[in-house]
Symmetry: C2
Subunit: 411 residues, 2 copies
């Protein structure tokens, strides 16, 4: 079954909204073993929508539209599709009642425009929208399925995951199981080389590599008669890959680096405190994104000035004079200082030059020192990064958390 | 001139990379008055690329391909386009020398694969790539232009902005000038209503509204015989809109909220310090994203625990016992405390419940207090937000910076 995704909306085609739905839907379909071969975006125009549909019907068996189901005159997807297929549109009483309930809950009066949303192509399978007013539907046209979904991601995603995927999983009568291994400290091509010997062993499992946000992903997809069987194939492959990837693994599936780190802090009952210069709060801000971190995160300081570095975490004036704020020595004293001040087991420190100004030939933009005081040991790592100010700061956060994660994993 | 954008790459069509290039190119073309009507994505396959090209040649006059120009066997865009057009591919000596230089600089040896990248369709106008090994080109086919650009955004963007846009601006012989007004505290439909009376006055200027990241944008596009004339039309409209939008404006064009805020701090020579509970460093992290902030940002504290709130910014034990950490009173004492401790003119504080745990019927998830101590006055704002933990924290940062921006603008 070849899938094709068509995003409808002037805001998408003119670029003012990035088409994140296309990516989300394609990845979701892959989890049930359906590959997307084509994606397109067209404006809010009947002729464009129909042209896209005509082409898609010639080459794809599952066509997913997203957008253009709203209540205004610009929302034309349903009308365009029905006119092209010569299917009458009929009002659904159930759907109208459901929408009335939704509006009652919000305390808003339903308008005639909204009623348009309760009309559906004859014979369509309705998809309930619990997060908005535009329900979706699935139409069968000979050997082809057409799915109409709303455009706003917070409405589209629950319908896709809650109704569309189970619907097609039933149709396909096969079990698929996917499992992501998340890695840092290794590039995509090096990863591909490492896993090459393990591929080809199974015909029932596949591994693909992807580049994520400062990380790479090895996605294992198992396929069998049932989900249980597919899961076994995927887990077997995971165990095989573990031995050669162990050093780089930061988590599985939706685990973020900071969540994996928090799990280690929880395992050892460690507490942590931070002091930041160049990252200026982003490091703590990322760590604190994990729910449950409060039992482990003690406190943090943003010591942008030399004065604050001395005052709050006890960096010595001589150190700053002799070596400067961006130095191995200062990073060490910051980490040890914040650990002592906060009475934490771990002190984590960043100092560096994020740019675009402030670089010198000896200390160029992108030079960063990361200090880690863990128990009785202190480690300092020197980083050389490039990019915009924001990119350098974000990379520093990721690399600092990763450096700490690696140290704690070795314990 | 109707434009169409075709992204080539398996990683795009399967959703593992979000197609941000499509949005970027469409917006860039609009700045020179060229509207995009169609976008699509196809995999790394000659037949798919050619099918997309055939359709595009029937309906568009400017076809922009992005991706598939790399050195590997998967990179097929140039070959597919040339085969379809029956144009021979020839090696460019200049381009080969340029690539040799690029590799020399990096100290890497050039492979035979890379040489493939120096071959171009006969008669093509070459586009130099200073950030990678895959140069682009422009082909003229009867009344239609075909542009081939590399896929990686950091290579594609400089070529598009530095070479492609000027090339077509020359072809079009008209002047276009766009200007964005960035607004917060107003929704898109309320914005559309406010500006409606001013539209229709000019035939030479157009205003469109867009939703950005926690903000809305009014984009003014002037069009004239020259850029100078177009700019006059756009500036006139900006002045007209200013009177009705003044309260909501946070900046123009690429100005971010934090940059606009920094400009006010610079104007008044104010210093600022932060203390954060629920935002845990993100507030400072956002503010410090502005280059030049170091002269105004004094220091910051992340006081996640009650103990830290008392120890570092002097919140009283009674206040915490009587009203709790998430309260108007605590926010006030935090703001005043950090202002005094850091000897700053402004103290900014956040405390709230970001969730998903920790909410109660009296203090639900999403309840946030923002404290602002400015000179001798202290203000506290109560927010009720919804979303995931991360969304609530990000919204808190935006709304806190906006609240301070509004206060300072009134001075």
């Amino acid at each position: 079954m070849k899938a094709e995704i068509i995003a409808v909306g002037n805001e998408i085609v003119t670029g003012h909204t990035v088409n994140t739905n296309g990516s989300f839907i394609a990845k979701a379909l892959q989890t049930i073993g359906v590959m997307t071969y084509y994606q397109s975006a067209v404006g809010d125009e009947q002729a464009s929508i129909q042209e896209a549909l005509e082409l898609a019907l010639r080459r794809s068996q599952l066509i997913v539209f997203t957008g253009g189901l709203g209540p205004t005159e610009d929302d034309l997807t349903k009308e365009a599709v029905c006119r092209y297929l010569k299917r009458p549109i009929k009002e659904s009483v159930d759907c109208l009642l459901g929408m009335q309930n939704y509006f009652n809950q919000l305390g808003i009066e339903m308008t005639d425009n909204n009623k348009k949303q309760a009309a559906f192509p004859e014979g369509a399978y309705l998809l309930t929208n619990n997060h908005g007013t535009a329900p979706g539907c699935i139409l069968k046209v000979e050997d082809c399925f057409i799915v109409l979904l709303p455009g706003p991601p917070k409405e589209m995603k629950p319908i896709l995951e809650g109704e569309v995927l189970p619907y097609f999983q039933k149709q396909l009568k096969k079990g698929i199981y996917t499992l992501d291994i998340r890695l840092m400290g290794i590039g995509e091509s090096a990863l591909a080389e490492k896993i090459a010997p393990y591929l080809g062993e199974f015909t029932t499992v596949n591994v693909a590599t992807y580049v994520g946000n400062y990380e790479v992903i090895a996605r294992i997809t198992g396929q069998g008669k049932t989900v249980k069987e597919a899961k076994e194939y995927a887990e077997n492959m995971k165990n095989k890959l573990f031995s050669c990837l162990e050093d780089y693994i930061i988590g599985y599936n939706e685990d973020s680096l900071e969540e994996s780190l928090l799990k280690l802090l929880q395992k050892y009952h460690y507490t942590i405190a931070t002091v930041e210069s160049c990252t200026g709060g982003l490091l703590a801000g990322t760590l604190i994104n994990c729910s449950g971190v409060s039992a482990h995160y003690k406190e943090g300081f943003i010591t942008y000035s030399n004065e604050a570095k001395e005052k709050y975490v006890g960096v010595r004036t001589e150190t700053l004079c002799l070596y400067g704020a961006v130095s191995r020595q200062t990073a060490k004293e910051m980490a040890e200082g914040v650990k002592a001040k906060a009475n934490a087991y771990i002190g984590l420190a960043t100092t560096g030059i994020a740019g675009p100004e402030g670089g010198t030939p000896e200390k160029p933009v992108g030079l960063i020192y990361v200090g880690m005081a863990i128990g009785d040991e202190t480690y300092v790592e020197e980083l050389h990064l490039s990019g915009t100010r924001q990119e350098i700061r974000e990379q520093t956060v990721k690399k600092t958390l990763h450096a700490l994660f690696k140290r704690l994993r070795q314990i």
